[in-house]
């Protein structure tokens, strides 16, 4: 059972602003039935002032999608289009007293419907209609959308990107691409490592091991919700403790093996990794 706030439950059971507007001034449609949620936003706009006089919606989706739609319409009514466009998906989530992490994409869908409606009103092409730059085929998520949501919500892990955009939540084949995008966005360049293994002093070796673990290993584990901690280095023995998701992960043994391979490749062939 999802941990919904009372506000989400209330607005799911008693949604406001439901239905169509006859002869609307703008319509924004996002999502699709195949994806599992869809939102159609109707706006009545005062053409002289660009003020939103009325906003109504139709939503196919779960409780948080329906509640987010009410939140969106309540937030934008009475505002000018430019004012409305300052409302982010986080404002929608905040209006609801927060959303479960896995449901943040519902708030993003609200914000997207607004953009689509404004684009429709201004006679522009809907921003997400473009088929090019598609990263996630399963849920039709573009690179543009991922970049935008990542920056707006300061997302750093692949899991977060999936929670907020659904990208990568289907077959998973785009997960490496999302990882790449995150690196690009936050300008984390793959670590430059010495090509030849030089004879290292004990101190240099310890420093290099720490460096490889920090830059090569931890970001990958963190991307899957896990982590690790370096406990000790004793000659060629590196003692590591797995943390967070890695602790319960049945693949923990494989993870340690992979870390060992990495350290052997980049630092010293004699290194062994043990669980601390």
């Amino acid at each position: 059972m999802w941990d919904y706030t009372d506000k989400v439950k209330e607005l799911f059971l008693h949604p406001k602003n439901v239905g169509e507007i006859e002869h609307p001034d703008a319509v924004g449609e996002v999502g699709s039935m195949v994806c599992g949620d869809a939102l159609k936003l109707f706006l009545r706009i005062d053409r002289a002032t660009d003020r939103i006089l009325d906003a109504r919606f139709q939503t196919f989706g779960c409780a948080s999608a329906i509640a987010s739609s009410t939140a969106l319409t309540e937030l934008i009514k009475g505002r000018t289009l430019d004012e409305a466009l300052t409302i982010s998906n986080r404002d929608i989530a905040a209006y609801l007293g927060g959303l479960p992490r896995e449901k943040m994409h519902c708030s993003v869908m609200g914000r997207e419907a607004l953009e689509a409606a404004v684009a429709n009103y201004r006679g522009l092409k809907a921003p997400s209609a473009a088929k090019e730059g598609m990263v996630c085929q399963c849920f039709e998520v573009t690179e543009e959308k991922i970049r935008k949501v990542v920056l707006e919500n300061r997302l750093t892990t692949v899991t977060e990107v999936t929670d907020y955009t659904k990208a990568g939540g289907g077959c998973g084949s785009c997960l490496p691409r999302i990882e790449e995008l995150l690196r690009e966005i936050w300008s984390v360049k793959p670590t430059e490592l010495p090509r030849e293994k030089k004879k290292l002093t004990a101190l240099q070796k310890i420093a290099l091991i720490q460096d490889v673990l920090e830059k090569e290993v931890r970001p990958l584990l963190q991307a899957d919700g896990g982590d690790m901690e370096l406990i000790d280095i004793d000659g060629h023995r590196v003692i590591i403790a797995l943390r967070k998701m890695c602790v319960e992960c049945p693949m923990g043994g494989v993870t340690l093996q992979n870390i060992e391979e990495k350290l052997r490749e980049l630092v010293d062939e004699k290194i062994t990794v043990e669980a601390g």
């Binding site: 039935m33 939102l39 779960c62 849920f139």
Partner: protein, 390 residues
């Protein structure tokens, strides 16, 4: 508000008679059956009596019954034993619609270098027999195919498949967690080598499962430690739950036929009325071969989680194959394997009944469900479209 519990494939109520026999073991009779003293040692006999009752329900010999902690442990143990004892055979055959207890374990073995064949099913959830016959080869260590599906209730022809495998001398395991207690099942006539069942699916408590291992089948334990279960499953016995399971099996054996009929009639009334009152709805799964208690229905243009939460407001408990209820974004792997369109999967609801489901419970669901579907469709941008359109 009265609870209308229609989620018995998830878990069942502990039968009052079962609870009664369990209680003394939480209070006065807290001993360890392995102890030398009478206080603990006397419990050994109670555990053996429970074992005999479990064996009787499925036509096994008591020594073929290994108590475990749950259905998942039984499934994992069966597969692990099979691959552990046949290191030269690196192939496993299962289906795309198995419970995660088997499916995830097979994926785990695949990562360790095993080859796994996932057999397809058709649009009614029926196993592809040709694919089955072609899949098994000289390298196959074990075939694991469920007796009945937890989501749709579809029953697989386990006896027929077992016959083929026996002739080809391939080890056969069946996950019968959803079948035992709901269908008559006798391992004397069923050519399986291993079979899993779970206590809490048949009105016993949580925390106890069983792995049946046919006499003469080589077996390697998964949990290693003490000598319990003749060294086949270490760990101090969950005495209270085991004794409760014995009682639950005794009751199931006595009442099975009569309950099967009654529950099946209730299920029929439920699904036929809902189909009659909700347009654009369908049954998922082969109506000709299903568990008597399960119905999986799709209501198009509405989303399953939304339906469940509305039902919840009326005290009705059910479950859904929709993506939003799964904890991931993936909708039901079972319905997808059947090729059910996404539009129907998102709006799928499973009702699973039990011996405690009453006519009044069904009346409540029948009364509450159609307006919920109507209201949610009124909210939906697809509400007025026809099936042909999508």
């Amino acid at each position: 508000m009265r609870t209308v519990y229609c989620d018995n494939n998830a878990t069942t109520a502990v039968a009052p008679e079962v609870l009664d026999v369990m209680l003394p073991y939480f209070k006065d009779l807290y001993g360890n059956p392995s102890s030398m003293h009478t206080f603990g040692g006397q419990l050994h006999r109670q555990v053996e009596e429970a074992r005999a009752k479990v064996a009787a329900l499925i036509g096994a010999d008591p020594e073929e019954i290994i108590f475990t902690s749950c259905g998942t442990e039984s499934d994992n143990t069966a597969l692990m034993s099979a691959v552990e004892l046949q290191p030269g055979k690196r192939h496993i055959v299962t289906t795309r619609v198995e419970h995660p207890a088997v499916l995830s374990f097979c994926r785990h073995l695949a990562r360790k270098g095993h080859r796994v064949t996932y057999l397809p099913v058709d649009h009614l959830g029926r196993l592809d027999r040709d694919a089955f016959r072609k899949a098994v080869d000289d390298e196959t260590a074990v075939v694991s195919i469920m007796y009945a599906n937890n989501e749709t209730g579809v029953i697989f022809p386990v006896a027929e498949l077992g016959q083929v495998l026996r002739e080809r001398k391939v080890l056969f395991h069946t996950d019968a967690v959803q079948a035992v207690g709901k269908l008559p099942l006798n391992v004397k006539e069923l050519p399986v080598d291993m079979l899993s069942l779970s206590g809490h699916k048949l009105h016993a408590a949580k925390g106890v499962g069983v792995l049946y291992v046919r006499k003469g089948t080589r077996f390697y334990p998964y949990i290693i430690g003490g000598h319990q279960e003749h060294g086949r499953r270490a760990g101090t016995e969950n005495v209270a739950s085991i004794i409760g399971l014995g009682k639950a099996c005794e009751i199931a054996r006595a009442r099975l036929r009569e309950e099967e009929d009654r529950v099946s009639r209730l299920r029929g009334r439920l699904e036929q009325t809902l189909l009659a009152h909700c347009p654009d709805a369908q049954i998922n799964g082969d109506p000709a071969s299903r568990l008597p208690n399960t119905t999986n229905l799709s209501f198009r243009y509405v989303e399953g989680e939304a339906i469940l939460l509305r039902l919840n407001e009326h005290g009705i408990c059910a479950s859904s194959g929709s993506a939003c209820t799964s904890g991931s974004l993936e909708p039901s792997h079972v319905l997808r394997a059947m090729g059910i369109p996404f539009t129907a999967i998102h709006g799928s609801i499973r009702f699973s009944l039990s011996r405690y489901t009453s006519e009044a419970d069904i009346d409540t669901v029948i009364e509450v469900m159609p307006p919920i579907i109507r209201e949610l469709r009124a909210l939906s941008p697809y509400g007025r479209e026809s099936i042909g359109h999508l």
